[in-house]
C-alpha cells in the first residue's frame, strides 16, 4: 500500500518551492486578465453584437441572441464569393507575407547577430547600436521609406530616391503589394530576431563548438548539429513573434496597397479585412471570428515552440563554468563584410530617420525652398490652414505632458512586464515538464495574439462596468493593459534565458543555503543580465510607440505622445507628426543610453555590441 503524506504536508511541500508559488500566482492573474478578453472574443463570435449586426443577419434576430451566422458567413458564404474574398484568399496571401517577413527577419537579424557575436568583425558596436533603430520606429515608417525610395514615374507614383539617383525604375510589384509589405515588416522585425538570437549566441558556451571542432566536425556540421539546435528556442520564439505581428499588422499593408485592381498587384491583407470587419457595426462578430482564427494559427506555432522547448531536448548553454567565446576570424573578407554590413544596416536604420527629419522641416514634401522649423519651434498657432491653436511641438505643453506620461507609463509597464516575464521564465524552466507551467507560459503569450483594438475594447467595457468605473480613462488602466499586453515579450525572453541556465548553478546556491530572492538577484539575474534587460527594454519600446491599444482607453487627462501624434496626423499636420516620431525615437535611444550607463546593459549590448 502506498504511503501517502497528509494533505497539509503535501501542500506545504508544494508551496515551499518558489516555482510552484509563481505558477499559482500567475495562473490567477492571467486567468483574470487574459482569459476575460479571450472569452469576450469567443462569446462575441457566437452572439449578435448590436442592432446593426441584427439588421445584417436578418431572420428576426435581436441584439445579444446566440448565432452561428458569423462563422458560417465568413467561412462558407458563396454569396458574391464572400468567404473566398473576405477570408480564404487574404488568409493565404497574408500567411505567405508573414512567412516571408519571418524569413527576412530571421535571415537578416540572425546573420547580423552571428557576425556581431561570433566573428571578429570590426565596428561591431556601431552596427549593433544602429541595427535596433528600425524596431524602435513604428512599422509603417519602414513602409513609408520603402515607398519613398522605390516609387518611380513609370508607375505614376512620382520619382523616388532610387530613380532620382540612378534613373532605375523598379516594377510596381516591388513598390506596392505583398512583396514590399513582407520586406518592410521583415526589416522592421529583424532587430527583434537579432536581439533574441544574438542573446543566445553571445552566451553560448564556446566549449560546445570547440569540442565539435576537436572531433573534426566540419563548419557546416557544427552549425547544423551544435549552433542551430542551441539557438532553436530563440529562433522559434522569433518566428512566432514575427509571424503573429506581421499577420496582424494593419498599417503596413494598408499603406502599401496602392496599385490599381486591374494591375493584379492589389493586395488586401487579412488584417485589413479584420479591421474593416471589426470597425463596422454590421460585422463585428465576423471580425471576432477572424481574430480567433488568427490566434489559432499562432497557437499552432506556439505548440511547435513548446514541442522544442518542452521535449527532452536540452538547450542548456550557460553552465557558469566558461565565459570564453572564440571568435571566427573573417580573414581577408573582414573589410568587405564590414563595409557591406555597414552600408545595408545604415541604409535601413538611418535613412528612415533622415526622411522623418526632412519631412518635419519642409512645408511641401521634397521642396527645399519651403524649409521651416516652425513645426518644431513656432510659438504661434499654425496660420493659414485653419488648424486651430497648434504650435511647434517643442513649445507645446500638451506634447511635453503627453511625452512625460508616455515615458512614465512605459517605464512602469516595462518594470511590471519584465519582472513578470522573468518570473514566468523561471517557473517554466524549473517545471519544464509540468502541465501547469506550460499552461501559464502559454497564457502569458496569449495577449500578444489578441488584436490590440479588441484587447483595448474589452478593458474599455470593463471600465464602464459598475464597481470598475474608477478605472475609466485612468493611468492605472493604461498600466494594467500595457503590462499584460507586452508581457509576452518579457516572458519569451525570460523563458529563453532561463532555459539556457544549467540547473547546477542554482542547486549549488541551494546547497549552501542561499534564499530564493538572493539566488534570483545575486546568481541567476547577473549571469543572464543581458537577456533579462532585453525583457525589460522590449516592453518599454513597444509601449512608447503603441497607439491602437491605448487609443480607446486614454482620456484627455491621460493623453499619451502617440495619441498626440495621431491627432496631428489626422488633421493633416504630417510635419508635426513626423517630428514627434523622431522625438520618440530619440527619447528611446537616450533612455537606452542611460540604462546602459547605469546598468552596463542595453538591447544591443545584450547581443554583444562591444
Amino acid at each position: 500500500m502506498k504511503n501517502k503524506q497528509p494533505l497539509g504536508n503535501r501542500l506545504k511541500s508544494y508551496f515551499s518551492k518558489p516555482a510552484n508559488v509563481i505558477c499559482i500566482i500567475f495562473l490567477v492573474i492571467l486567468l483574470a486578465t487574459v482569459v476575460l478578453p479571450l472569452l469576450t472574443l469567443l462569446i462575441g463570435s457566437f452572439t449578435v453584437n448590436g442592432n446593426q449586426e441584427a439588421i445584417y443577419i436578418g431572420q428576426g434576430v435581436m441584439d445579444g441572441d446566440f448565432t452561428f451566422n458569423h462563422w458560417k458567413e465568413l467561412l462558407t458564404s458563396r454569396d458574391f464569393d464572400y468567404a473566398l474574398i473576405k477570408f480564404w484568399r487574404p488568409l493565404g496571401q497574408s500567411t505567405v507575407m508573414a512567412l516571408l517577413a519571418c524569413l527576412v527577419a530571421v535571415g537578416f537579424g540572425g546573420v547580423v547577430a552571428w557576425f556581431i557575436t561570433r566573428s571578429d568583425l570590426p565596428g561591431k558596436q556601431f552596427i549593433s547600436t544602429i541595427f535596433v533603430f528600425p524596431y524602435i520606429m513604428p512599422s509603417w515608417a519602414m513602409a513609408m521609406f520603402w515607398e519613398n525610395f522605390f516609387k518611380n514615374t513609370q508607375i505614376n507614383a512620382g520619382a523616388g530616391m532610387l530613380e532620382g539617383m540612378t534613373g532605375i525604375c523598379v516594377p510596381e510589384s516591388f513598390v506596392y503589394g505583398l512583396f514590399p509589405c513582407a520586406m518592410s515588416l521583415g526589416l522592421h522585425y529583424a532587430p527583434f530576431a537579432y536581439i533574441l538570437i544574438g542573446g543566445i549566441l553571445r552566451n553560448m558556451d564556446a566549449n560546445l563548438e570547440e569540442a565539435a571542432t576537436v572531433l573534426k566536425a566540419s563548419r557546416f556540421k557544427i552549425l547544423r548539429k551544435v549552433t542551430l539546435p542551441i539557438v532553436m528556442p530563440a529562433l522559434i520564439s522569433t518566428v512566432l513573434l514575427v509571424f503573429s505581428s506581421s499577420i496582424s499588422s494593419f498599417t503596413v499593408p494598408f499603406f502599401l496597397n496602392k496599385s490599381s485592381i486591374s494591375s493584379g498587384n492589389n493586395f488586401i491583407s487579412i488584417s485589413v479585412q479584420l479591421r474593416s470587419l471589426i470597425n463596422t457595426g454590421f460585422t463585428k462578430g465576423q471580425g471576432y471570428v477572424l481574430a480567433i482564427i488568427l490566434m489559432l494559427f499562432s497557437i499552432g506555432i506556439l505548440t511547435l515552440n513548446n514541442w522544442f522547448t518542452g521535449s527532452r531536448k536540452s538547450f542548456t548553454t550557460v553552465t557558469g563554468k566558461s565565459g570564453q567565446v572564440s571568435l571566427v576570424k573573417l580573414g581577408k573578407a573582414k573589410p568587405f563584410v564590414a563595409a557591406v554590413l555597414f552600408i545595408i544596416v545604415a541604409f535601413f536604420a538611418i535613412m528612415p530617420l533622415v526622411s522623418f527629419a526632412m519631412e518635419s522641416v519642409l512645408e511641401v514634401p521634397g521642396d527645399w525652398s519651403t524649409f521651416t522649423l516652425r513645426y518644431w519651434l513656432s510659438s504661434e498657432g499654425f496660420e493659414g490652414s485653419n488648424k486651430g491653436d497648434t504650435i511647434g511641438i517643442l513649445r507645446s505643453s500638451i506634447m511635453w505632458k503627453a511625452l512625460g506620461r508616455s515615458l512614465l507609463l512605459s517605464i512602469i509597464v516595462s518594470l511590471i512586464a519584465g519582472t513578470f516575464g522573468l518570473l514566468i521564465g523561471y517557473a517554466v524552466a524549473k517545471k519544464r515538464n509540468s502541465k501547469l507551467a506550460t499552461f501559464v507560459s502559454n497564457l502569458a503569450f496569449f495577449p500578444y495574439l489578441i488584436p490590440a483594438m479588441s484587447f483595448g475594447a474589452v478593458y474599455l467595457a470593463l471600465s464602464y462596468t459598475k464597481g470598475f468605473t474608477w478605472l475609466d480613462g485612468s493611468f492605472i488602466l493604461l498600466m494594467l493593459v500595457g503590462s499584460i499586453k507586452f508581457m509576452p515579450f518579457a516572458s519569451r525572453t525570460g523563458t529563453s534565458a532561463m532555459l539556457q541556465l544549467s540547473g547546477e548553478i542554482e542547486e549549488a546556491a541551494i546547497v549552501i543555503g542561499v534564499p530564493w530572492i538572493k539566488r534570483m538577484t545575486r546568481v541567476l539575474f547577473p549571469i543572464q543580465k543581458a537577456s533579462f534587460i532585453s525583457g525589460y527594454l522590449l516592453p518599454f519600446i513597444s509601449c512608447m510607440r503603441e497607439m491602437s491599444l491605448f487609443v480607446l482607453l486614454a482620456a484627455s487627462y491621460t493623453t499619451l505622445v502617440t495619441t498626440v501624434l495621431q491627432e496631428y496626423s489626422r488633421t493633416g499636420l504630417s510635419q508635426a507628426a513626423n517630428a514627434i516620431n523622431l522625438l520618440i525615437i530619440v527619447v528611446v535611444l537616450v533612455i537606452q543610453f542611460v540604462v546602459n550607463k547605469l546598468t552596463g546593459a542595453s538591447i544591443d549590448k545584450g547581443v554583444g555590441g562591444n
Partner: protein, 421 residues
Amino acid sequence: MKKTMKKVLVLVLVLAMVFAMAACGKKEEPVEEKSAVQTAIEAAQKMTLAELEEAAKKELEEHPDLVFNADSLTSGIKKALAGFEKKYEWAAGKTAYNSKKGSEYQPKLIAAQKANSYIADFVMIQDASFLKNAMLDTGFLRSYVPAGEGIEIAAEDQNPLVGVTFNKVFMYDNTTVGADQLKNVWQMTGVDGATLKGVNNVSFQNPLGEDINMSFLIMLTSPAACEKLTAAYKSYFGTDYDGSKDDYENIGYKFVAEFVKNVGHWHSSDSSEVKKINTYNEDGRILFAGLCKLKDYEFYKKDYKDTDMYYTKTVTAGGWNNDIEGFDGFVYNMWTLIPDTAQLPYTACLFINYIHSEEGYAAGWGGVLGYYSSNKNIPSVDGDPALSVWKEQCVVEDVEYIDSVYATAVKFINMQLAGVK
C-alpha cells in the same frame, strides 16, 4: 341538481375571483421614466436664450468640480469651445475638447450606452447607420433643437440634430489639369463615351479603411443615385441603359463595379493626398476627398502664407467641378447630440445653440469651404455653392437605404475590391 348548481356557482365565483385578481394584478402600461437629461432638454427647449444662459451658468456654478466635456472627431469643436468660453466668461477654463476618431469612438459610446455611464456632455459623430441603430434607437443620444434669433433648422435636420454637413468631391490640380478632364461620371469607368474619353487616374481611399467611402459606394446603388446615373449614361454613351444586357441588380451596381475596377490609385489618407495635388500634373490624377481638406493644400504657402490671398490661392490651385453629369460627389452629416448620461445638459444645450449661431459656426468652421451649417441662415463661403445645391448635385447619405442593402452591397463591393469578375 342543487349540488350541480352549487358547483357551477362556486366555479363561476372562483373564475371571477381569478379574473378579478388578474385584473388587479395586471400592470399598467409601463410609463417610460424620463431621464434627467431628457427633462432638462425639454425644459431648455421652452427657454429663451437668456434663460438658457442663466440655467447653464447656474449648472456650472452648482458643480464646480465638473468640466463640460465635448467629444468630437472634428477640431472645429475645439475652436468653437474657445469661442464659447470667450463669449461666456463664466465657462472659461471649464470646458474640455476630446478628439475622437469615429471607428475608435464607437466602442466607447457602445460601452457607455450598455452600462448607462457618463461619457461626455456633448458628442459630435458621423456614420448615420451607427447613430440610428446603436445610439438613437437605444435612446442614448438625444437631440436639442436650437432656436432663437437667426437660427433656422430644417425639420429633417432636427431629430437627430445635424451639426455640420460635409462633402467629398473629385479634385484635381487646377494649375495644369483643369476642369475639362472630368465632365461625366461614366468617364471614371475608363470606357470611352460617344464624345468624351474615359479616364483611368482616379485616386480613391480604400473603403475597407474609410467608412465614408464605403457608404458612398453603397449609396451609389440607391434609386436616387441610379436615376442620376441613368441620365448621365444616356448623355455619355448616347443610348439608354439596358439592364437586360448584364447581370447587375441595377445601374448603380454596374457603375460601382466598373468604377472600382478602374481606380488607378488607392490612397491611405485624404489629408496627406490633398497636399500632393501639385504633383498630379504628372498623370492628371483626380482625387476623391473631402472638399474641406483643400485647406490643407499648401502649394501656395511659400509665397502667400502671410497674405490675405493665401486661402483663395490655395483653394483655386486645387480645383473641383460643379458641373459633372451624374453627380459631383457625396454629402454626409455630422450630428451634434447630448448623451442621456450627460452631467451638464443645460450647458450642452447652450453650446449646441452657440455652434448653430452665426458667431459659433464662424468660430468653429467659418471661412472654410466644404463645411455647411444646418442653420439655413448661414451661407457657405464665397465660391462654394449652397448646401441645397450640393444636395441636389451629389449622392446624399441615407441611413434607411444603407441599412436595407448593407449585407448585399458590401459583399458586392468586396468582390470588386478583390478583382473577382
